[in-house]
Every structure is written in C-alpha cells, then in structure tokens.
C-alpha cells in the first residue's frame, strides 16, 4: 500500500514538471529502504512509459526540436554510461549521501524559483506575437 501511495504522489507531481524522482527516490529510501541503487532503478523504469506517451503527443504537436536535441542526446548517452558506472562503483550508503546533496540543490532551486508566468520577459515576447 505504501508503495502504491508513493507512486501516486510521484505521479501527481510528475505532471507538474518537477521530476517525479525528486519525491519518488527519497520517499522509497526513507520509508521502504530497498537500497539507494534499487530506488533509483524504480524511478528510471517509472519514467519510461509516461515519457513515451508524452513524447508521442509532443511530436504530433510539433513541440520537439530534434535539431537541438540530437547533439545533446549523443553526448548524453555517453554521460549515461559514465554516470551509471560511477553509481555502481559506489556503495549504497555513499551514493545515498551524494543523492542527498543533489536533492538539496534541487529543493533549494525549486523553493526560490519564480512561477512560470511571472517573468516579464516572456510576457513581453508573447504580447509581441499576439498583439
């Protein structure tokens, strides 16, 4: 039941554009304790089906800029190999601490960033397009 609840809350916030992992991984580690690596694997697998559906919709609506994405994807695949190997070389207890540092940075960023529609610059550019 707790697993379903953790998934439920993470599913709700994934739709808000905060990575679901920012809730899913710490909630699993603190309440279920399956090990840091396994908690992270849950988040990776959790993301795939929802991302496939979202991506199909975004491609149909022509919101995906593949020209911009391609070089990022190619170097990103290299980074994913590097990052995964680094994760496997660490013990769960130290990976958990590094994750904590990363989460703290994300939390502080989320706390102090402004809402989506509050930046004057964006509003100005929109009003130019739609006078």
């Amino acid at each position: 039941m707790i697993l379903f609840l953790i998934g439920l809350i993470s599913g709700i916030i994934s739709g808000m554009g905060i990575g679901g992992g920012a809730i899913l991984i710490p909630a699993l580690v603190l309440f279920v304790n399956p090990g840091q690596h396994t908690a992270q694997s849950v988040n990776l697998l959790f993301f795939i089906p929802t991302a496939v559906i979202a991506l199909i919709i975004h491609i149909r609506n022509k919101r995906v800029d593949l020209k911009m994405a391609l070089p990022i994807i190619i170097s990103g695949l290299g980074g994913a190999i590097l990052g995964s190997r680094l994760a496997f070389s660490l013990a769960g207890s130290s990976l958990k601490k590094w994750f904590g540092v990363f989460l703290l940075a994300m939390g502080i960023y989320e706390m102090f960033r402004k809402g989506k529609h509050k930046t004057g610059k964006n509003e100005q550019s929109y009003s130019h397009k739609h006078p």
Partner: protein, 124 residues
C-alpha cells in the same frame, strides 16, 4: 562568423548532454531539472519547446541507464510494479487536482519535502 557560433552552440550542447546524462545515470533522476533550464538559459530555447524537447533527450538516456541497472541486478520488479501502478493513478489524479489546488503552493510544499529528505539522507 556563422560557423563560429554554430561551433560554440555545438560545444555547449555536448556539455549539456554530458552533465544531463551523467546525472541521469548516477542519480536515476534529475535529467529534466538540468536539461530544461540549460536549454532555455544557455541555448536560448523557448520554455514550452524546451520541456517537450527535454523528454526526447531524457527518454533514450533513461532507457540506456535502465538497461545498465537491470543488467547489474539492481531492479526489484515486484516493488517497481506496485509503484508504477500508483504512478498511473497519480497521473490521472494530478490533472484533476491542479484545477483545485494552486500549483505554486504545491510546488513549495514539495520543495520543503525535498530539502528535509535531503538533509536526512546526507546526515543519516
């Protein structure tokens, strides 16, 4: 001149990819948190396009990282299945909840949770 700006854009893109991919593999998350603001601030992308484009970037990276985690036996399928079931329900519920509860307040609540959880993970 054009060639020079193209090259610097390519170098910036490669660096964004490396950082995004490394975080994705190392922490199993956070790719979008890095890629979206990086594309907006460094590459000057439109925010809506950046969100959609980020998914096209993070999906292949996540599939690759997941393959590594599976082949290193870090996956608990039974646990994953239950969490994913909850996640599907949450996705539907979230769309309805956003109409009732203001997003900015929800975001701050989650930010507080993230900071408290982070401190516990570092300290314990």
């Amino acid at each position: 001149m054009k060639r020079k700006t193209d090259l610097s854009r390519l170098v910036k893109s490669v660096i964004i990819g490396l950082i995004t991919g490394t975080a994705n593999g190392l922490f199993g998350s956070g790719g979008g948190t890095i890629a979206v603001p990086a594309m907006v601030l460094v590459l000057g992308a439109d925010e809506h396009k950046a969100h959609a484009t980020a998914i096209s970037i993070i999906l292949p990276l996540t599939v690759l990282s997941a393959v590594f985690y599976i082949s290193n036996n870090f996956v608990d399928w039974n646990l994953t299945f239950k969490v994913v079931l909850g996640g599907i329900a949450g996705g539907f519920l979230g769309a309805k909840l956003l109409n009732v509860c203001p997003e900015n307040i929800l975001r701050k609540v989650f930010a507080v949770f993230m900071i408290i959880a982070a401190v516990r993970m570092i300290a314990y």
